[in-house]
Amino acid sequence: MRKTLKRRLLLILLSIGLLPYLIFLIYILFLSENKILKKTVNEQFLQINSTTNLIQTHLKSIEKEVKFLSTIDILNDLLAEDLDRRILKLIEKKAVDLGTQLTFYVIDTGYNIVASSDKENISKLFKNATSLKNDDGNFVDDEYIYYYSKIFSSFDKDKILGFMILKYSLRNLKQYLISNATAYSYLQNKQSFLALTDRKMFNINFSKNNGSKFEDEYLIVYNNLPEPLNNWYLVYAVDKNVALAFLHDFIYLILFLFPFLIFGIIYASFKYSKQVVVPIVELNDAINHIVKTQDYSQVLKIDARYEIGRLGFSFNEMIGLTSSVLKELENENRLRLERFIRLVEIFNYIIQAENEETCVSMTIEKISTFTNKEVLFSDNESIENENSIQLYVSDFEHRKKVFFGSLVLEHGRLKDASEKDFYYSIATMLTLQIDRIRLIKKTVSESNAKSSFISGMSHELRTPLNAILGSTQYLLSYNDLSEDNQDMIANIETSAHYLLGMVNNILDIAMIEAGKFKIEKEDIELLGLLEDLYLMIKPLADEKGLEFIFKYSDSMKAKIFNDKKTIQQIIINLLSNAIKFTKVGTIEINVTKSNKKIKISIKDTGIGISANELEHLFQDFSQLNSSLSDISKGSGLGLSLSSKMAKEIGITLKLVSDGLGSGSEAILVLQEV
């Protein structure tokens, strides 16, 4: 942008400066010369006319002189053929007066020269006698004008004595001609082209009375001379250079000034384009700098006047305004950030509060430390004005908000929305923390209630069972009872034993549901554990004549990290179930592994499970297809408990069956370490 603008400006300024000059130059060089020449021609015409008039006047006076001389009385002597010497003297004298190259003749009627200013001609015959008319007049021959006038006798006015003739050479008109270095004039005959000049004569076509002609070096102007010189022209030749001398001088001057002018224009163009562009460039640089540094406090130094200067000034004003707005924003942001940080601090502080009273007092304490403003807490619900914030907390029992108290700001109204937000945020935090405290209290007490219920249940159920079992064992172990009594007490013990199992299962379920189930994870060699359980259970299968198979790959290793006791419990439950519900056939434990997932399958050829039963399988007390009369079949809690335990320790338990009579398969999936 910078270069383009500068160049364009320069170009415009240069063309504005140079174009008129060039036009002027062209005009002078090609057009003004003709004009000047024409003007010179006109001037010469004036000159030539005036000269022509002068010549005419001159010739007229000569003619008059001749007439006058012819009337002089002494010319009467002409008849006496003895011309008086006085006549001779007279014409000689006149000849000297009128010019150098002239000759007076006095001829008699026989055309003999009686007297002449040139004595040699006397007594000769006048050559041009035929040109003499019977009147006074003149004629031209060669370069001479002949003026003649009849001489009458003083006595007899009708008697012609002879003629007074003046032979007048045109060369006498020299006085009317000019001849100098720059211009000259001469007379020329249009027929004979005889030119009375020593200098160059020009070949002119004298078809008009007057005219002009441009020769190489000369400007020619010509004019026809008056009667009797009809064949003669006065020619003026003016040196062109002289005519154009001023013009040429002027051109030289201009050409001489040209470099200075160019320089001046270029200098001015540069200067002004710089004056325009540089401040713009500076402005642009400054704007770029501001954009880059984000420093809006800068003041632009624009070294320019007029519009650009005003632009700079406006820009500074705008930047100043922006800067102050930014500062204002920054201050506001700082204030907001400060408040935010304080909010966070207050939050971090009051979140430590463990009861409602300390929570309130901690909040008030923090507010006064941060703002130096007093805040009071009031539980009076009737206080409701602009400088109080009412607090509503949750009533979890009734699921609604209830009035807790008000924060009363001692210093009066809140100034702005931001300050208001600040205090309302604190109020919200306070109520949330109070909610939290209440909720924790409630949860803890609920949790404690659950724990103490389970613990109480356990205590209440086990203590009597302990008494029963302790007593029955004592009686059976040490006393010699009658067989009937022995049977009865043995029944008590069996029932108590069964009851204990039930109690254990129920307490396990209760603990799982209360979230109190204890998990103690350890490293377990799963195959070893299964082997032990297999050996433990095997006698039961053997007793029923069932085939009991434990299959696994010899190369397999199955290490897991889990709760050993719970896994044992689940597997015993599943195995004892399988044995319990299988009359003939096989029970197979099959351990496989893929992708670190260990799958334990316990498959039996027992009574199987119907699709309908599968749905309710894991519900509490849903022993399948049986009545509680046969206590050996268990509590009906086994599968439900196993499933819950499996979930607790993060393993998958799934039961599949193709229906009643098709056997069933329990699948456990565990994650290998």
């Binding site: 022995q486 204990l500 039961l540």
Partner: protein
């Protein structure tokens, strides 16, 4: 040998008193926390059986107090409360052993004996009854001088019988012994199978006697 039983349940304490007296232990019964403090301030005991849940206090608190007072009497902690039972917690508080109610009498007596260090003094590792010889240390069994190979479970059962001759061991006691702490109602009849196998291996059908379908015993 004086024992103190701290137990708030009267039936339990009466039953314990009977059991322990039968085993020739001199036993005091304290029915609560305060009563126990009284007994302990006036007498010294060889062993304290301490119930966790006392009517007027917490057995664990009493245990801690005793240990804080540098009373090092062995203490066997008893509890019916499986929900808060934490063996580690009890042992950390200074108890010497821990038994969860309901316990088998035989198990309780065995623990008491162990705590009183009677086992090693009064009983040799070898027990011989009739033609059956059992070595607790080497785990060797001889029947009619012939060595018999038993599984762990079978050995444990035989050892329990031979340590408690003339006492009827119920199926509950036996299964409690071999499946320590495990909920085993589903497999309590596994005892019968083990006894059957044991008889076959010992090649002696009459050594372990069946007591009317609820228990077994051996006679010395």
């Amino acid at each position: 040998m004086d024992l103190l039983v701290v137990e708030d349940d009267e039936i339990t304490s009466a039953q314990l008193y009977k059991l322990l007296s039968h085993e020739k232990y001199i036993t005091d019964i304290a029915d609560g926390y305060i009563s126990a403090k009284n007994f302990l301030s006036n007498n010294s005991y060889a062993l304290i059986l301490l119930d966790w849940n006392l009517g007027d206090g917490d057995g664990l608190d009493l245990l801690r107090e005793l240990r804080n007072d540098y009373i090092s009497t062995p203490i066997l902690m008893l509890s019916a409360n499986i929900a808060i039972d934490d063996k580690v917690k009890v042992l950390d508080a200074g108890a010497d052993d821990y038994l969860c109610k309901p316990y088998s009498n035989i198990e309780l007596l065995a623990r008491i004996r162990a705590l009183l260090r009677r086992e090693n003094k009064n009983k040799s590792a070898k027990i011989v009854i009739d033609e059956i010889e059992l070595d607790s240390i080497t785990k060797d069994i001889f029947s009619n001088k012939e060595q018999v190979n038993l599984t762990h479970t079978e050995f444990d059962l035989l050892e329990l019988f031979m340590q408690n001759p003339n006492i009827v061991l119920t199926r509950y006691q036996l299964s409690e012994h071999i499946n320590k702490g495990m909920n085993n109602i589903g497999i309590s009849n596994v005892i019968d199978v083990h006894i059957k196998n044991l008889r076959n291996k010992l090649n002696n059908k009459k050594f372990i006697k069946n007591v009317r379908g609820f228990g077994y015993t051996i006679k010395k």
